[in-house]
């Protein structure tokens, strides 16, 4: 094993910070996309009409049960053949957001299903309009179960961002690879990246546990 070289760490820092920034940006936008698209899927899955329920079920199951890396390659290498082309970062963000939206959909659905039927009945008995029933009664109760579970998927999503290196997005792992390719020092950049993930993910999951304890009582 080669000796640890602090100067290699120092040399890596500019690239490293760029990588951190982009990783967090992809994580933030991917999360937003997965949260909002997931809610749309969830409404589809909960629809009274099976002509809505079935197609949404098929699409989300398909996306959920195929690997993210395959989806990533498909969006990045195949779609351009049909004239649809986005930058690697955009493609990566959309792919990760889309993939995780199928998980968040299940989270929303489970959270909504867990609200007692009596709440719906009380809302009907009071003639509350449909949107008030959803936004004033059901979702505020479901959210206590939803938020902690969504948080877990954000942490998962963070750990999946290195897949985007596969389409040469300059996130943390790709920055480390480029650094290593230039300096032939693999140990330092990869170690730094690994530690960076722990430093972000572990406090995040601790925070989630606190949040969970507060919300779910």
């Amino acid at each position: 094993m080669s000796n640890w070289d602090w100067s290699a760490v120092a040399d890596f820092m500019p690239r490293f910070w760029d990588g951190v920034q982009l990783t967090l940006q992809i994580l933030a936008l991917g999360s937003l996309l997965s949260f909002s698209l997931g809610l749309v899927w969830a409404f589809g899955l909960l629809s009274a009409s099976r002509f809505v329920r079935w197609p949404v079920n098929v699409v989300t199951e398909f996306i959920r049960n195929t690997p993210l890396l395959v989806q990533l390659f498909f969006l990045f290498f195949v779609l351009p053949e049909f004239g649809v082309q986005f930058s690697a970062v955009t493609t990566g963000t959309v792919a990760i957001g889309l993939h995780y939206s199928t998980y968040t959909a299940q989270v929303y659905k489970a959270g909504i299903d867990a609200v007692p039927l009596g709440q719906w009945e009380a809302a009907t008995a009071l003639s509350l309009p449909r949107h008030r029933t959803w936004f004033a009664v059901i979702l505020p109760q479901a959210i206590r179960r939803i938020v902690p579970a969504l948080g877990n998927y954000v942490v998962s999503m963070l750990k999946d961002t290195p897949l985007l290196a596969g389409i040469s997005v300059l996130e943390l792992l790709q920055q480390a690879r480029l650094e290593s390719a230039a300096t032939f020092q693999y140990t330092e950049p990869l170690t730094v990246v690994g530690i960076a993930f722990i430093l972000i993910a572990y406090p995040a999951s601790l925070l989630l546990r606190v949040l969970e304890r507060r919300l779910v009582r």
Binding site: E121, A122, A125, L126, R132, A136
Partner: protein
Amino acid sequence: MSAETVKPAETPSPTADLIRFDKVTKRFGDNTVLDDLCFSVKPGKHVTLIGPSGSGKTTILRLLMTLMKPEEGTIHVNGQQLFPSRGEKQLREVRKNIGMVFQQFNLFPNMTVLRNITEAPVRVLGLSRDEADERARELLDMVGLGERADAKPTQLSGGQQQRVAIARALAMRPQVLLLDEVTSALDPELVAGVLDVLRDIARTTDITMLCVTHEMNFARDISDDVLMFDAGRVIESGPPEKIFGDPEHERTREFLGAVL
């Protein structure tokens, strides 16, 4: 007589009755819960439905609240046809005149007591927040919970929650109040408080009440009419003195013998 088993051919125009069931049948799978049921209720009357569990009493309230629909028959409320449904718009119109109090209270746990009561008047009737608050505080005073407006439902006892639920239903100023075994989920020492509130309402308002209960003394106190149900049909009806004092039907005697 305000509640009676009627044959459709003999009945006066539907407008005279506030609530009218004509040959209503409701099934759950193979189980027929309501069997060709006919009965009607005149405005302002207090009608209690009694009978063994599973005899279809609660189903009647749930049909009126449009929480389910019948397989056959027609239901009119205030001259408007509720079932067979004439569309969501008419259902909504009819529903606005009906309030319901549930066995399990079903307060919204994410809202304060006050907000539970004001939500529908503001969102459905279009009252201003101030008007709705004022009305809600009056109702809370009436049910003896004037001090708890800012509490969350989970901070209240079952009896207090149920009294809030009554206030919530009344805030919509319904013509009809449906009471579905409202004391069945309460600890015995909390029952009296809830029943006192309901006695008050029965005495001081002209609201029409349809009440499913196992509290026979309460039924005797507030009812203009008592309907005895068995196997999805009304087998006997009449004023409480008659039903409790001198029931005609063998099943009624058996039932009252068992619960009194």
